[in-house]
């Protein structure tokens, strides 16, 4: 192994690590606000990548139909709640607005030829299609059982993941897809050439992390979301709605997952079920952070990226084994040394 190979593997590790870090932050955010382990996080990634690929290849984009179906379910649930006397006898504005939005983007992606549009337009539309999936999933599957035991929430999460993978197969088919890179140029530093997609991934990840930091530290809405994670009763008592907090955290998770999908689509071939294993590595990062610390989770995810990259070189068939075995010493050390947030409930 020479320096060039080390640099190449390192570059690969940084690219993957940055994506895992984003997913780790997202899983952590959703967990602290709602106590839900977002197993379907990976579907945001794969759906975004495949939607983008479908746009570029000129095949029909079917993602909108999933939104329409979920929005219809949300409207039906509002009516059901009203029938049980828990609300007014008409669907709430939010659900109807979501239905109208879903119908609009579905029509837009169905009628406009998108393969001629630029990468930026395609990426923007992909985000517009994936982000509403977050709040909709929360409304339909989690909000009715928000007070349930975290184990129940976990089981529902697994079920939602399985259903979404099935929906993914229906929408995108069994073939994998890869998108065109955002730009062709690389950057040469001495003997090493930095891949342009690596630069894109790192730049967008950093930007997103800075934006998230600013949102949570500088705006009252961000602080309200943090407050909902710190003390649920306290948050409710000052008028922070747990439903809105839940939807907002799922929306952010979908945004982060969607952007991650768009970023890695030119690097890796993504299949309808590829998201799970990607987000699982983010999850390992989140566990290294004790499901509580954002910086440690991000660092843990970066470390996972490197470990994965170098084990590809030394023992490629054991790649996943090595990555997931890394979690064992961390868990042992954490359970022996101190209590994390996972003991709270």
């Amino acid at each position: 192994m020479n320096l060039q190979i080390v640099m190449l593997l390192g570059q690969d590790g940084v690219t993957n690590g940055a994506i895992y870090a984003l997913l780790a932050l997202s899983i952590l955010l959703v967990f602290t606000v709602t106590r839900i382990l977002l197993i379907p996080q990976g579907e945001f990634v794969s759906f975004a990548a495949l939607t983008m690929a479908a746009m570029q290849s000129g095949t029909p984009v079917r993602m909108g139909w999933l939104l329409v179906a979920l929005a219809l379910a949300a409207v039906a649930l509002d009516l059901y709640d009203a029938a049980r006397g828990k609300g007014r006898w008409r669907p709430r504005g939010a659900a109807l607005a979501m239905l109208a939005y879903a119908a609009a983007v579905t029509a837009l992606t169905g009628l406009v030829p998108l393969d001629k549009a630029g990468v930026a337009v395609q990426a923007l539309l992909t985000v517009a299609l994936v982000v509403p999936l977050g709040p909709l999933l929360y409304r339909v599957f989690y909000q009715p059982i928000a007070a349930a035991h975290s184990l129940v929430l976990l089981i529902v999460s697994i079920a939602v993941h399985v259903v979404l993978v099935g929906a993914g197969l229906l929408m995108f088919g069994p073939e994998g897809a890869r998108t065109e890179p955002f730009s062709e140029e690389g950057l040469s530093i001495g003997m090493v050439t930095l891949n342009s997609q690596t630069l894109w991934v790192v730049a967008v990840s950093l930007l997103l992390i800075v934006l998230l930091y600013a949102f949570f530290e500088r705006t009252l809405y961000g602080k309200a979301l943090r407050a909902a994670a710190v003390n649920r009763l306290g948050a409710e008592l000052v008028g922070i709605s747990p439903e809105i907090a839940g939807k907002a955290s799922f929306g952010l998770a979908a945004l982060i997952g969607g952007l991650s999908g768009i970023l890695i689509a030119p690097i890796t071939t993504i299949y309808f079920d590829s998201g799970f294993i990607i987000s699982l590595k983010g999850f390992v990062g989140a566990i290294i952070g004790g499901m509580a610390s954002y910086p440690v989770a991000a660092l843990g995810a970066l470390f996972i990226g490197q470990a994965e990259s170098f084990s590809t070189f030394w023992a490629s068939s054991y790649k996943e084994v090595i990555v997931f075995t890394l979690i064992l010493p961390v868990l042992l050390w954490r359970s022996l040394s101190h209590k994390g947030a996972e003991d709270e409930e």
Partner: protein, 254 residues
């Protein structure tokens, strides 16, 4: 002194029942809080005092009638009660421990957000004027405050919601005697500013001294009620809640 004055009371609770599964925690509780009054509910541990406040606030489901400011408010939700102008300081204080004092207060005004920065700052300054201690600690993380300061912060955060009725669950719990006196001084101050208060206390002596009207809750039922000054002299209340020390103090006073 009449508990309710001439107009309709601010809060009227009628035959409120709460059960945890098969256990009836609150049975047919009825009470009223007049506008601008301090009303206290005293009673032993486990009598259902916290349950009563939680049910009024909509934290717990209940059966029975609740009316606020003359309007029907039965089967309340937390959101609906905050909207009507009711604020609860729970026994746990429910602060945002990892956030600064100032962030806690600003989030207290969250229901008015977004509103002009100037209005937010004015509300904040008002609280700092009322609780100078909090101003000194504005940048400190809430979890590192002393017990008394935490209670002040909980009170101030609740006031940031601009309540007409402030419900306090054991505000003196776990506080040093000097701080308890300070808390009760603030409660009396707040009433002077027009905030009605429903106060739940185990420290019956202090509660009866500051309140206009009082109820005694035992085993989930209201067993006695009357003007606070009368209840404070009622032999049954003295025996059960004011105890030997109460007699001792009365003797000293005479």
């Amino acid at each position: 002194m009449s508990p309710h004055g001439h107009q309709a009371p601010l809060l009227e609770v009628r035959d409120l029942c709460v059960s945890y599964g098969k256990i009836q925690a609150l049975t047919d509780a009825s009470l009223r809080v007049g506008d601008g009054q301090i009303v206290t509910v005293i009673g032993p541990n486990g009598a259902g005092k916290t349950t009563l406040l939680s049910a009024i606030m909509g934290v717990l489901p209940s059966r029975g009638r609740i009316a606020f400011a003359g309007a029907e408010a039965s089967s309340p939700t937390i959101k609906s009660m905050i909207g009507r102008g009711v604020s609860l300081v729970p026994e746990s204080r429910a602060l945002f421990g990892s956030m600064s004092v100032e962030d806690n207060l600003r989030l207290g005004g969250f229901r008015f957000h977004p509103r002009p920065r100037r209005a937010q700052d004015a509300a904040l300054e008002e609280m700092y004027a009322l609780f100078p201690r909090l101003k000194e600690r504005r940048a400190q993380v809430a979890a590192t405050l002393s017990g008394g300061e935490r209670q002040m912060l909980a009170l101030a955060r609740a006031l940031m919601t601009r309540p007409k009725l402030l419900m306090l669950d054991e505000p003196s719990l776990g506080l040093a005697p000097l701080i308890v006196r300070e808390v009760f001084r603030i409660i009396a101050d707040l009433r002077r500013q027009g905030v009605s208060i429903l106060l739940i206390e185990q420290n019956a002596r202090a509660a009866l001294r500051v309140a206009d009207y009082a109820y005694v809750l035992e085993l989930g039922k209201i067993v006695m009620e009357g003007p606070a000054a009368e209840l404070a002299n009622d032999p049954r209340v003295v025996a059960a809640y004011l105890g030997i020390a109460g007699k001792h103090q009365e003797m000293l006073a005479t």
